[in-house]
């Protein structure tokens, strides 16, 4: 089992959700975050002149999948979130030791 942590553009969130759902992946946890990469920050206007914000809003999503579904999930995220420009985000993959479904007590793959 793996945790796929994807940091994406906020506006791509729903596209990514649909793309994952088409591959049968429905569960995910989503959080609004701020971050910084090659896209860097953005300069906004004060009353006169401007100021620069060094962090941009992004969405971080956690998706847990079976080992065999990892590449499918990654492809689904990329298909919906890639523009080819700086700021598209990153995907991190972590091993997951165990999972417990709270409502039933199921463990491991059964609980995905």
């Amino acid at each position: 089992m793996k945790k796929i942590e994807a940091i994406i553009r906020p506006e791509d969130l729903d596209g990514v959700r649909v793309s994952l759902q088409e591959k049968g992946i429905v569960g995910m946890t989503v959080e609004e975050v701020q971050g910084r990469g090659r896209q860097k920050g953005v300069c906004l206007q004060w009353r006169a002149g401007e100021y620069c914000v060094e962090f941009l809003p992004k969405v971080r999503m956690d998706i847990i999948v079976d080992d065999k579904d990892v590449d499918i999930a990654i492809d689904a995220v990329i298909r919906a979130a890639r523009t080819g420009k700086n700021g598209d985000g990153k995907i991190f993959i972590y091993p997951v030791e165990d999972i417990v479904r709270i409502s039933t007590g199921e463990r491991g793959k059964e609980a995905i």
Binding site: L44, Q45, W46, R47, A48, Y51, V53
Partner: protein, 433 residues
């Protein structure tokens, strides 16, 4: 049915008329239309102070939102009481040497339901008093834009009370009080360009020098946390300003209508100009449009009872240009007048007071005077004298007062309190849970 209804109504009408006719004999000088307009105007000006809290509050960081709103709200409470106890007497009481009112009207002693012909012959003296109270309140609150995000609340309250007493009350007396020396000199200030805006704007600069910069000023971005709140505040300020300027006719008449029209026109011209300036430099800015509207209102304030609508367009548009570039200039200096009270009110008020000396015409207000454009350079000179005097007095007294409070109570919060934000450190509350 009809006859029974009309009979019913005639009885009610008679009942309503009986006490009214009895009173009319005693208070014939009070005009009901004038009184109604001034009371409504007082309420309009009252809402401007909490509105200023929203206007300022949206521009600071989230951790200081409540603190900034509280500056205005606390002043509404504090100065309302100060004004009734002794402020009105100092500002408008019987004159002592053209400089200050005496204490005969302490606790509103003798300020009653009868008019005081020296100020307003057709409304109760109490109505004039409460209208003026709202001006004193907002003037003190305006200064708070200079020291947001770092002042100690106790020091703020003491400063505000002393500033109202030592700066506002004397200046209001000089310009508007019977026997006031600037009034006798012939300086024109319809609704408070010098008394309200120059005094608060220049004082803001003085206290900004004393209290020093916010931590991280010029190094980290200080984001306005809620621009819709700024726009709401600006809209309520614009709304209230109809009472501020229109009510300064102290009558429900053509001059009030004229002041109302030029007020709206100048605000609009300035909002438009500020939007264009920001567009020229980057994008049409919402924060800029809201700021521009307020700056236009500031500039038309002293002129609102003396100028035509076309002059109002010039006054508003030029005010926006002056304040816009003054803000750019100020932000490059080492002084943190955080919400640019000096650039908006100090310079907006200065331009407005000088513009009054240029564009004033007796065609609008026979009780006023002609300005430079209408062949009276003398008025222009008088306006500049009044501006200079208020600049110097407000700056010097505020600077000394701020130094004294800093040496005794301490103006600033500790670094840690500033870092965590004034909402939590000064009020033990959070704006957004």
């Amino acid at each position: 049915m009809i006859s029974r209804n009309s009979m019913y109504w005639s009885v009610i009408m008679l009942l309503l008329l009986l006490p009214a006719t009895a009173l009319a004999a005693e208070e014939s000088r009070v005009d009901s239309g004038d009184t109604a307009w001034i009371l409504i105007s007082s309420a309009l000006v009252m809402i401007m102070t909490p509105a200023l809290g929203l206007f300022y509050g949206g521009m600071v960081r989230k951790k200081n939102a409540l603190s900034t709103i509280m500056f205005s709200f606390a002043i509404l409470a504090l100065i309302s009481v100060q004004w009734v106890l002794y402020g009105y007497s100092l500002a408008f009481g019987p004159d002592i040497g053209g400089v200050i009112g005496n204490l005969n009207w302490l606790g509103l002693n003798g300020v009653g339901q009868e008019p005081n012909a020296g100020y307003a012959a057709t409304i109760p003296a109490l109505a004039y008093m409460i209208f003026q109270a709202m001006f004193a309140i907002i003037t003190v609150a305006l200064i708070s834009g200079a020291f947001v995000e770092r002042i100690n609340f106790k020091a703020f309250m003491v400063f505000s009370l002393l500033w109202a007493t030592l700066v506002y009350d004397p200046i209001a007396h000089w310009v508007w009080g019977t026997g006031g020396w600037l009034r006798n000199l012939g300086a024109l200030d319809f609704a408070g360009g010098t008394v309200v805006h120059i005094s608060s704007g220049v004082s803001a600069l003085a206290i900004a020098f004393v209290i020093g910069k916010r931590r991280g000023f010029g190094k980290q971005a200080m984001e306005p946390h809620n621009i819709p709140m700024v726009v709401l505040g600006a809209a309520l300020l614009w709304f209230g300003w109809f009472g501020f300027n229109g009510g300064s006719a102290v009558a429900s008449n053509g001059l009030a209508a004229s002041a109302f029209v030029v007020t709206n026109t100048a605000a609009a011209a300035a909002a438009l100009m500020w939007t264009l300036l920001s567009w020229y430099h980057k994008r049409p800015s919402v924060l800029g449009a809201a700021t521009g509207g307020v700056v236009g209102l500031v500039a038309i304030t002293p002129a609102s009872g003396f100028v035509t609508p076309l002059a109002a367009i010039v006054i508003g548009a030029v005010a926006a240009v002056i304040s816009y570039y003054a803000m750019l200039f100020r932000s490059r200096q080492n002084v943190d007048d955080s919400l640019d009270v000096w650039a908006c009110h100090g310079l907006g008020g200065t331009w407005g007071a000088i513009a009054t000396g240029i564009f004033a015409t007796v065609a609008v207000n026979p009780a006023g005077a002609n300005g430079l454009l209408y062949g009276n350079p003398g008025q222009f000179v008088t306006q500049i004298i009044a501006v200079g005097v208020i600049w110097i007095y407000a700056f010097v007294v505020t600077f000394v007062l701020a130094k004294l409070i800093d040496a005794t109570i301490g103006l600033r919060v500790h670094d840690e309190e500033e870092a965590v934000g004034l909402d939590i450190s000064q009020h033990a509350e959070k704006a957004y849970a």
